[in-house]
């Protein structure tokens, strides 16, 4: 079997791994070496499905001793098997790297014989790269659940980022679909890596040239839609992982039906790409916008609104928070406005030092006024009418067709109304019940 066949089989087996980031670390080659890394990460290409290709994403081997039901490489699957020798893999990586095809290597593996043996093979390939070729580029390695912690420590010294796949969002799903893995065997290496990173950070303070352990942090991924876990559970788990294990990223992958099994969705189900998209949107809100999981979803709303993004959805249910004066609101408040992102919020804060911002200025700063206009005012001015209701915003954000579908799945709260010559002012804007308003007006409160 030549390198072409091996590359085809082992790429095909690795493509369901989501993470392909090369971010989180800045470094350059020492004299005599090759390779650098940029903290922002660099994408080298985009595949036909629109995903970025930054690293050479392959498996060491796709021969696996485990039998996870959702996986293409499971033991019981009849598929051609191949393995790279450590030297072949290192040579391929260097040659791709010299031609600027890739930013580095993403190395994962099926479990050949046992987790320890597999990890030893991976370590050997990375050692050749780092020591013989003096490669300073980015390396992302998967920690295989159940590996000895000594080997993980060795692997960690050679890589920039490590990840342990959490695979499925709950213990019960894991038991059902991946009988060889347990919550403990996944979280133990994650905890170990986190502790080592923490230890290492104090070493670096003491000795400037202390070798770095996983400098770009660790990440994980889970499959969405193979099990009945709800968005609320997944988002809470995500938040927990960020807080407890200090992960850099949590990736979601919509389940692609690759195997027939009674426990899994049927082969003709389409992957839940919209759900994955909403989860990523929420993930960004957690990491950069100061939202918490409980604000976005709760016990009664366990799944995301398919018609509205999570931020818009939150804003529409908290109309009392708006309209917000962009010339005065704090940065953290600005981040809560739909249509204002991290960049535009930062620009607003800078630009308003020298001028009072008007609506056409906001356009220049990159604010998406189509969404933002309903939630902000500029020096007391608003666009359109003064009274803004949830219903009005919905009507202007969606096409008639989607609005119809939206109302079908989220029926209006109010009962049939008595027709009136004069429109009743909607009371969503304030938290007061209607009687309070009337008393307010007649000064009898």
């Amino acid at each position: 079997m030549d390198v072409f066949d091996k590359l085809k089989i082992l790429t095909d087996a690795a493509k369901y791994d989501v993470a392909c980031t090369s971010s989180g670390v800045n470094k350059k080659a020492a004299a005599g070496g090759i390779g650098n890394a940029a903290a922002s990460g660099i994408c080298h290409s985009f595949s036909g499905d629109g995903r970025c290709i930054s690293l050479l994403k392959v498996l060491m081997t796709n021969a696996c001793a485990y039998d996870c039901k959702y996986c293409v490489n499971r033991k019981s699957n009849d598929t051609p098997r191949a393995s790279f020798t450590p030297r072949e893999l290192a040579e391929l990586t260097i040659n791709f790297y010299r031609r600027n095809y890739i930013e580095g290597l993403f190395l994962s593996s099926g479990v050949l014989k046992n987790p320890d043996y597999t990890t030893e093979q991976m370590i050997e390939a990375l050692r050749i790269l780092r020591e013989e070729y003096r490669f300073f580029g980015y390396i992302h390695a998967k920690a295989i659940p159940g590996t000895d912690s000594g080997l993980i420590a060795q692997l960690g010294m050679l890589t920039d980022r490590m990840s342990v796949n959490i695979e499925l969002p709950s213990q019960s799903s894991l038991q059902m679909l991946a009988p060889d893995k347990s919550k403990h065997s996944i979280l133990a290496p994650m905890k170990y890596i986190q502790n080592r990173i923490q230890e290492n950070s104090t070493d670096i303070i003491k000795y400037r040239h202390a070798p770095k352990f996983v400098p770009a942090g660790q990440s994980t991924q889970m499959i969405i839609g193979a099990t009945p876990d709800t968005d609320f559970q997944i988002l809470n788990l995500t938040e927990g992982l960020y807080k407890k294990y200090k992960l850099k990223r949590v990736f979601f992958s919509a389940y692609m039906p690759v195997a027939e099994n009674d426990l899994l969705p049927t082969l003709d189900t389409t992957p839940p790409l919209w759900r994955e998209h909403r989860l990523y949107q929420a993930d960004w809100l957690l990491r950069f916008y100061g939202f918490t999981a409980n604000e976005l979803l709760d016990e009664h709303h366990q799944s995301f609104n398919p018609y509205l993004d999570p931020k818009c959805n939150w804003a529409l249910h908290h109309m009392d928070f708006f309209p917000m004066n962009v010339n005065r609101a704090s940065y953290t408040d600005l981040l809560r406005v739909p249509g204002i992102g991290v960049n535009s919020a930062r620009r607003i804060v800078i630009a308003r030092r020298t001028a009072t911002l008007q609506f056409n200025d906001l356009k220049k700063l990159g604010v998406v006024l189509k969404r933002a206009q309903y939630f902000i005012n500029c020096g007391g001015k608003v666009i359109g009418s003064l009274k803004i209701s949830q219903d009005k915003v919905l009507r202007s954000l969606m096409s008639e067709k989607t609005l119809g579908m939206y109302h079908q799945s989220f029926p209006l709260q109010s009962q049939a109304e008595q027709l009136s010559l004069f429109e009743q002012p909607p009371m969503i804007l304030s938290g007061f019940p209607q009687e309070d308003h009337q008393r307010c007006l007649t000064n009898s409160l």
């Binding site: 660099i42 595949s47 095809y101 919509a254």
Partner: protein, 267 residues
């Protein structure tokens, strides 16, 4: 005062020349409506005022910029000069005039027209140079890495550091077809030199097999069930495809003229 509306500067196209326009604008207390390059053949309705490049004047302006509005502003207009924005010279002049009046806070005036135009242009430049750091594809000819690009902005100065840190021990050349420039490097010095044309030799067997391996990897890594060409185009617009190996666009030119154009690289 009527002249104010028809005033056109013509400069030699260098950064120093532009700084001399700024000097002239303050010296004569006038603001031009346009600043043009010498090779613009289009007949103008109004005569253009020739601005002679005087290094001494330029240096005076250059020294005053960090003093009045900080090094960020200097760095910013240097980058703005590399962009492909129309009328960038005029906007740089307006930006500097604004800067001399308001000082450091000019960098905060994002809602101002001149500042906004330049910020947008520089963002385009930064984005393009960042994308090209990934999309550049080298071919190896007798152990020299050679790549071609066709950027809109003049991105080579912004890519120099990245590639020098990436391949400290290699010899490489990146040819910018749009601007007729090339970034050349051999351990441990780099230069940006003007180059008219670059003809590449036929790739050897090893080069071809790695290209084929990369194409194989590229085609295999896609998950067919998620095919989404629109998303790909959003991230990687088609104008970058021309020189990327994965879309099968290895240059098919022959003739070994590489030695002539890049003597610098092959001793």
């Amino acid at each position: 005062m009527l002249d104010q509306f028809t005033l056109i500067y013509r400069y030699d196209g260098s950064f120093d020349g532009l700084l001399c326009c700024v000097f002239e604008s303050y010296d004569k207390k006038e603001i031009p409506t346009e600043i043009i390059l010498p090779d613009i053949s289009q007949t103008l309705l109004f005569a253009a005022k020739e601005i002679r490049t005087d290094v001494q004047k330029a240096n005076r302006v250059l020294a005053s910029i960090p003093e009045k509005m900080g090094f960020d502003a200097l760095n910013f207009i240097q980058r703005a000069f590399l962009t492909c924005a129309p009328k960038k010279e005029l906007y740089i002049l307006l930006f500097l005039r604004l800067g001399y009046r308001h000082g450091r806070s000019v960098m905060d005036m994002l809602a101002d027209d001149a500042v906004h135009t330049l910020f947008k242009a520089v963002k385009h430049l930064d984005n393009e140079s960042h994308l090209l750091k990934g999309f550049v594809r080298f071919s190896i000819f007798s152990n020299v890495l050679v790549a071609e690009i066709e950027p809109k902005n003049c991105v080579l100065p912004l890519m120099t550091q990245h590639f020098c840190e990436r391949y400290p021990e290699e010899r490489f050349l990146i040819y910018d077809k749009t601007h007729g420039m090339a970034l050349v490097y051999h351990p441990y010095q780099s230069a940006i030199i003007p180059i008219d044309d670059l003809e590449l030799p036929e790739p050897d067997e090893q080069e071809q097999s790695y290209r084929a391996l990369w194409q194989l990897f590229y085609d295999t890594i896609e998950i067919q069930g998620r095919h989404n060409p629109k998303c790909r185009m959003g991230h990687m617009p088609k104008r970058y495809w021309k020189y990327t190996t994965e879309f099968g666009s290895s240059s098919k030119k022959s003739l070994l003229k590489l030695e002539n154009t890049a003597k610098f690289l092959i001793p």
